[in-house]
Subunit: 351 residues, 2 copies
C-alpha cells in the first residue's frame, strides 16, 4: 500500500474538492490508501457520500485549525501545531504516511515541511519542481525552483540541477536528462554573476549528477526539445510558471471567442471538438497538477491552490508514484558527492 | 516628415528583410522618410528592386562594419564607430533623424545608445518596454524592463513605473494607466527586499507619475484587465517575455497538429480558417514588434532579431509614431520631480 497523507483544508475550493480528488485517486490507484487531515466535524459529513470501496482505504485524523492563504510562514511555524497542514506533514515524519499532499499556502507548507522533515545533506535551499508541457521526447520538461525561495546562489543552482535530473530520470525513465540554466540569452557572457558561477559548477558536475548540461537556455526554451530540466531561482521560476499558465489561459479564451465569432467558425469548432478537447487536456495544468518539494527528508507535493477534484487527484497520484520509487536515496547520494567535491575543490578566486 | 534612421544590418534574416520592412512601412505611412545605415555595396543592389514612390523617401548612409549577435557590448562601445548600428544612433544625436530602429544585438544597441544619447536626468538604468497582448480595455499591456539590465534597485523600479505610465498614456490615450509590480504573490509580505522597497516608493509617487498603483501582480496577471503597466527588473522581464512567446508558439504548433489529426477536425479547421487567421494575428508577436528603449535622450526601437519584413515595418511604424508624439518631454518632467522628491524625503532608515 502507498500511504499518502492529505491536508483536507486550505485549498481555494474547500474540503469538498479535496475529498472529491481523494475519491478519484482511490478509484484510479488500487494500492493507494489515504490519511485525511482536517476538522472532523466538517469532513465526516462529506465522507458519507463516498462509495464504500473508497471509504475502506481512507482514514481521518482530526486537526482543529487551518492555515489560510494569508498566513505568514513564520506565524504558522510558531503557532500552527493544531493545523491540518502540520498534521499531514507530521504523519510523514512519524512514518505513518510515505508522502503528503496539500493545496494550501505554499510558503507555510514549505516552512512547516522544512521544520519537521529537515533538509537533505548538501541542500541549503529546497526547491519546488513543476512539469512543463513540451515538444520534447517525453512531452514534458521539469523546471525548478518554481517558488520555494526568492533567491538562489550558485551552489543552490547546482543542487537544483542534481535534484531535477534525479527527479526527471525517475519520472520519465530517462537515463541521461539534459539540464539547462535559465538566463536572458545563450551567450556565455550574459546574465548575473551567480548565474555565471553556476554555469561552471553545473558543467563540472555532469558525472556526479549523471546529466548532460546544455548550457544557458531562455524562456522560449522551456518547452523546447533540447532540454529536460530547467534550473532557475524561485523568483524567476515562479514568474515564468505563472506567465506560461496565464498565456495559455489567454489563448484559450481567444480561441473560444474565435469559434463563437460566427456560424461558420462555430460549425468548424463543432467538427474539431473532440480534437480540441484533447488539445485542451494536453495543456491543462490540472493534468500535471503538483509541485514537488525537492531537498527534504520526505516527499511533499503542493497542489495548485485552486485545484478541483481532477487536479487534487493528479497531485495524489503523483505523490503515490514518488512514494514508491526510492528516488530520494539516489538523490541524497549525488548531493553529498557534489557537496564534498565543492569543499575539496580549490576555490576559483585562488584562495 | 517623420525621419527614422534604420540599421540595415545585424538582423537574423539579413538586410533583405529590413529593406522589405522599409518598403512596407513607407507604403503605410505617407509622412515617413527613412535613412538606411549599412554597407552600400550590399544595400544598393537590394534597393533597386523597390518601387519609385518608396525609393524617393529613402536615403542611404554608408557604414562599412556590422555588429554581430555575438559581439560583446563593451567591445562595440570601444571599436564600433564604423558599424551601421553606431551610424543609425549617431543620426539621432545629430538630429538628422527623430527615431532609430535596429534588429541587431540588444546589449550592444543599448550600450551604443547610452554612450551617444546619454541617460535622462533621474534615470540610472534605462529600460526596454514591450507590449503584451491582454484582455484589458486597450488590448495590450506594457511590461518593462524586458531586458536592458539584469538588475534593478527600488529607485530604478520607480523610474520604470513613471516611464511606463507615460509611454502607455501616450500610446493608448489613457489618462490614468494602472501600474503593477511583478512579484511571486500579491500579499504584502512576499518577495525580495528591493521589491518591497519599490512597492512603497511606487505607491507614494502616484501623483507625480499620474498613474494608479494596483500593487503586486503575478506572471498570470500580465494579460489581465486590472493592470496596464507591469514593472519588473530586466532579468525577470526578459524571461517572462520569452516564456510568453514560447508558450504561444507551442500552443500554435499543438493547434496545428490538432487540425491535422483527422479529416473531421481538418474540415473544422478549414471552416474556421478565417477566424483562426485573425486569432493568430492577434497573438502574433510580429504585429507588435519593437521594444522601446526608455530613459534615454532619444527614441530607439529594438526590433526582434528574427523579425521579417512585417515585423520590421511594425517597428519602424512604432518609431515614427513615437518620434512625433513629444512623450519624452513629459516623461523627463516627471522623472525629475520624482528624483528630487526622493532626495528631499527623509530616509526610511532614519538617517
Amino acid at each position: 500500500m502507498d500511504k499518502v497523507a492529505v491536508d483536507a483544508m486550505g485549498g481555494d475550493l474547500g474540503p469538498r474538492a479535496v475529498i472529491g480528488g481523494c475519491a478519484k485517486a482511490l478509484a484510479a490507484h488500487q494500492h493507494l490508501s489515504i490519511i485525511l487531515h482536517g476538522d472532523e466535524a466538517v469532513l465526516q459529513p462529506l465522507l458519507s457520500g463516498l462509495p464504500g470501496a473508497a471509504r475502506d482505504r481512507l482514514s481521518l485524523v482530526h486537526a482543529s485549525d487551518t492555515v489560510s492563504m494569508q498566513d505568514k510562514p513564520g506565524h504558522v511555524m510558531r503557532h500552527g501545531r493544531e493545523t491540518s497542514m502540520w498534521s499531514a506533514i507530521a504523519a510523514l515524519k512519524t512514518g505513518e504516511a510515505a508522502a503528503a499532499v496539500s493545496c494550501g499556502n505554499t510558503g507555510a507548507l514549505m516552512a512547516v515541511s522544512m521544520l519537521q522533515l529537515r533538509r537533505m545533506e548538501g541542500v541549503s535551499r529546497p526547491a519546488i519542481a513543476c512539469l512543463w508541457p513540451s515538444r520534447g521526447r517525453h512531452g514534458f520538461s521539469t523546471m525548478l525552483d518554481a517558488g520555494a525561495d526568492v533567491k538562489a546562489e550558485a551552489a543552490d543552482l547546482l543542487a537544483y540541477a542534481i535534484m531535477g535530473a534525479t527527479y526527471f530520470r525517475n519520472d520519465f525513465d530517462e537515463p541521461r536528462p539534459r539540464v539547462g540554466l535559465l538566463n536572458v540569452g545563450t551567450e556565455e557572457h550574459k546574465g548575473r554573476a551567480e548565474i555565471k558561477a553556476a554555469h561552471d559548477l553545473i558543467a563540472r558536475h555532469q558525472e556526479t549528477g549523471r546529466y548532460d548540461y546544455v548550457g544557458f537556455v531562455e524562456g522560449s526554451d522551456l518547452p523546447d526539445e533540447r532540454v529536460d530540466v530547467i534550473v532557475t531561482d524561485g523568483f524567476t521560476g515562479n514568474v515564468a510558471l505563472k506567465t506560461g499558465e496565464g498565456t495559455a489561459k489567454l489563448i484559450g479564451e481567444f480561441l473560444g471567442e474565435t469559434f463563437r465569432s460566427g456560424w461558420v467558425p462555430m460549425l468548424g469548432g463543432l467538427l474539431a471538438r473532440r480534437a480540441l478537447t484533447r488539445l485542451s487536456q494536453r495543456i491543462d495544468p490540472r493534468q500535471v497538477n503538483g509541485g514537488v518539494f525537492l531537498g527534504l527528508n520526505g516527499t511533499v507535493v503542493k497542489s495548485h491552490g485552486s485545484a478541483d477534484a481532477t487536479g487534487v487527484a493528479a497531485a495524489i497520484g503523483l505523490a503515490a508514484k514518488l512514494a514508491g520509487s526510492g528516488y530520494r536515496g539516489r538523490m541524497a547520494e549525488r548531493l553529498v558527492i557534489a557537496a564534498q567535491a565543492s569543499q575539496d575543490a580549490p576555490k576559483g578566486d585562488g584562495a
